[in-house]
């Protein structure tokens, strides 16, 4: 599957924010926006749904804590109970610190792994760089030319009106 896209490059955060919002309001399909830093408000401007990664963090944090409480109970009170200074086998308050640490470890590591997985980032992956300048000082807005009614000239004029410094048409094969 190939698709035709219209790329427009901006030099300023404010321009790309305004252009993205305008494209979304005009009903254009925004494929992606490439930016050198996290532009705040751009996900709203592009109509992007919030990430679901906090759920991974919550679920795995809870799972880690639950596992650790069980494990501490099992090792200290069931598998091989050892009398340490006459303390009860099941010293729940003493289990709190390690439970907390393991919860943080599970939640943090799993969130990062989930992020790398869903963002398809892994060592040695060849980056699909739309323009080498996007990691330096360029903002590139990619709009899909959905059908024949897509008026390249009109959209181009609009984007130029928002301060686009370069506009280019590209044909993309499949997903990037």
């Amino acid at each position: 599957m190939t698709r035709r896209v219209l790329l427009s490059a901006f030099e300023r955060e404010g321009d790309v924010l305004a252009a993205t919002e305008a494209c979304r309001k005009a009903g254009l399909k925004i494929v992606d926006v490439f930016t050198p830093y996290a532009v705040h408000g751009l996900d709203h401007a592009a109509g992007l749904a919030p990430s679901r990664l906090p759920w991974v963090c919550f679920a795995l944090g809870l799972a880690g804590a639950a596992f650790k409480v069980w494990f501490e109970f099992w090792t200290s009170a069931s598998s091989w109970p050892i009398n340490v200074g006459g303390k009860p086998w099941n010293s729940l308050p003493a289990f709190v610190p390690v439970t907390f640490e393991v919860m943080v470890l599970f939640a943090g590591v799993s969130t990062v792994i989930a992020f790398l997985f869903v963002a398809r980032l892994f060592p040695g992956r060849r980056a699909a760089v739309i323009d080498p300048a996007v990691t330096d000082d360029r903002f590139v807005l990619v709009v899909e030319q959905t059908d024949a009614a897509f008026d390249v000239a009109a959209v181009g004029r609009m984007l130029a009106g928002f301060g686009a410094v370069a506009i280019e048409e590209r044909v993309e094969g499949g997903r990037r």
């Binding site: 321009d15 305008a22 919030p50 640490e101 992956r125 009109a154």
Partner: protein
């Protein structure tokens, strides 16, 4: 795919670079980065040390640190081969230099997490200039800290016994009621989370190094390590979500780590250790010492690496204020300890504290008070805060003072215990001194390598707090675009209504 964009639509003549009136956004206070930087200026400034050969000063510092590190390694090797007896410990003073250094280094690390996580949650945008270096400092400091408990076990090759794994001894599990096991979990979790947090923050900058002109090997290595980062909006959004989550996790983590370190002492019955004030006292002390170490390092880096535009006087000013705050908490804790001892009616408690201030080790106590309580008071004066040499000297004093704080807590509490027949003194052996110096050598070796091979300032974050390009450039009104009128006519926003506002650290999840 990666050729530069062709300029196909000429914009209105002369309008591409309009007057940047709108850049005055947020100008009611000093800018975070001075010098009117554009985005590519940031890339160039931060990456330039990587393009040049190291200076003689760098080589001097590196070789010296490396030599000291080797000295420490030799001391550790000798100690491991011979036994813990080569240290100056005795049956009364069973913990001294080793645990002092351990707590000292862990404390140093905590300021890095304060800057990267806690100040992030508090929307302190100035952190972006120093967080990369402070987090690197955290990782290296925790590495140094981890050495000491392990070598103090005497048989470091059995250190894996601290991990609760199924074994052939029954399975005999670790004792989860022991603060030393809590410590093992706390330090290893802290190191893992700090390292991940740091690497995650490094991804966009690695992609920048990959995409800019430079040595071929460096581009390839950065490309490998950048994991295919391409600046996509969706990835940025997820990245910011993960960053917020990790900051939210690291904040209670950093408090828990030093709380647990303080429990190594507070759960014991030794007068001078057995105090409920220890967790907050230790956490404040950790941030106090770490913040002064950050300043020590950043003042040197700022000068030698020409980062004056990024680490400005404003940064120095806020960090010195944080030092005053945490230093005051520490001073209050010292006073509270004495009050508690006096008010407890416990003769052992009272003795330990009068012995601390007036006994044979009083010199260490008063060194601590002089460095940690008296010297930060100079920072109340703006003239001192704006004099970098003076700030540097004060931070050195605090680094020394905070080392002595741990020494005082550990050694003066132990050396005269309940039975006068057991009283003893403590003098570090040359092996201990060499090991302590070696940990400093390791720390500075790592830090000097870091400033050469990694961007010292988080470019991807600093670009987000520049005044540059915040508001739309204002050219090209909706009249130029027919689609705009059809689509609801929301033209470029005026700066006043821009939802991005001034809150650079805003993150939505």
């Amino acid at each position: 795919m990666s050729e530069a964009l062709r300029l196909t639509v000429p914009a209105a003549p002369g309008s591409l670079v309009p007057p940047r009136d709108s850049d005055r956004h947020g100008s009611f206070r000093q800018p975070l980065v001075v010098g009117n930087k554009s985005l590519s200026d940031v890339t160039r400034d931060i990456c330039s040390p990587m393009d040049t050969r190291p200076t003689a000063l760098w080589w001097g510092g590196f070789l010296f640190s490396f030599a000291v590190m080797l000295l420490g390694a030799a001391a550790v090797a000798y100690q491991v081969a011979t036994g813990v007896g080569v240290w100056g410990l005795n049956t009364t003073v069973g913990w001294a230099f080793d645990i002092t250094n351990f707590v000292f280094w862990i404390g140093i690390g905590h300021a890095g997490t304060l800057i990267s996580a806690i100040l992030f949650l508090f929307r302190q945008r100035w952190r972006t200039s120093v967080n990369r270096a402070a987090e690197a400092m955290t990782i290296f400091a925790v590495m140094c800290a981890g050495i000491f408990p392990v070598i103090h076990t005497g048989r470091p090759w059995l250190a894996f016994w601290m991990f609760p794994y199924p074994n052939t001894r029954g399975s005999l599990w670790v004792n989860f009621r022991s603060p030393l096991i809590w410590d093992f979990f706390a330090i290893s979790t802290y190191f893992t989370i700090s390292a991940m947090f740091w690497y995650l923050g490094l991804l966009p900058d690695l992609a920048t190094i990959r995409d800019r002109a430079g040595a071929r090997w460096r581009q390839r290595l950065a490309g490998f390590l950048a994991l295919g980062w391409n600046g996509s909006l969706r990835t940025w959004q997820r990245y910011e979500t993960v960053y917020l989550l990790l900051a939210g996790l690291a904040t209670p983590l950093v408090v828990s780590v030093h709380t647990i370190v303080s429990w190594d002492f507070a759960t014991a019955v030794i007068p001078g250790w057995h105090a409920t004030i220890f967790p907050p006292y230790f956490v404040a002390g950790a941030i106090f010492s770490g913040m002064s170490m950050v300043l020590t390092l950043m003042l040197v880096a700022r000068k030698t690496m020409h980062l004056e535009d990024y680490i400005t006087m404003r940064h120095v000013d806020v960090m010195t204020k944080l030092i005053i705050l945490t230093g005051s908490i520490v001073a209050l804790a010292y006073a509270t300890e004495f009050f508690t001892a006096l008010y407890s009616g416990n003769p052992y408690e009272r003795f330990v504290f009068s012995n601390r201030a007036l006994g044979p080790m009083a010199w260490s106590y008063w060194t601590m008070v002089g460095c940690n309580v008296v010297s930060p008071q100079l920072l109340w004066f703006r003239r001192v805060r704006s004099n970098l040499a003076a700030v540097f000297v004060v931070t050195i004093f605090i680094n020394v003072g905070m080392w002595f704080e741990r020494f005082v807590i550990i050694v003066t509490s132990l050396h005269r215990d309940f039975l006068p027949a057991n009283w003893a003194s403590y003098t570090p052996s040359s092996v201990e001194l060499a090991t302590a110096a070696g940990s400093l050598g390791l720390f500075f070796t790592c830090f000097l390598l870091f400033v050469r091979f990694v961007p010292v300032v988080a470019m991807g974050e600093v670009k987000g707090v520049l005044a540059y390009g915040r508001a739309p450039s204002g050219q090209g009104q909706p009249s130029a675009s027919p689609i705009m009128r059809e689509g609801g006519g929301s033209g470029p926003r005026s700066p006043a209504t821009s939802p991005t506002g001034g809150e650079g650290a805003e993150v939505r999840s």
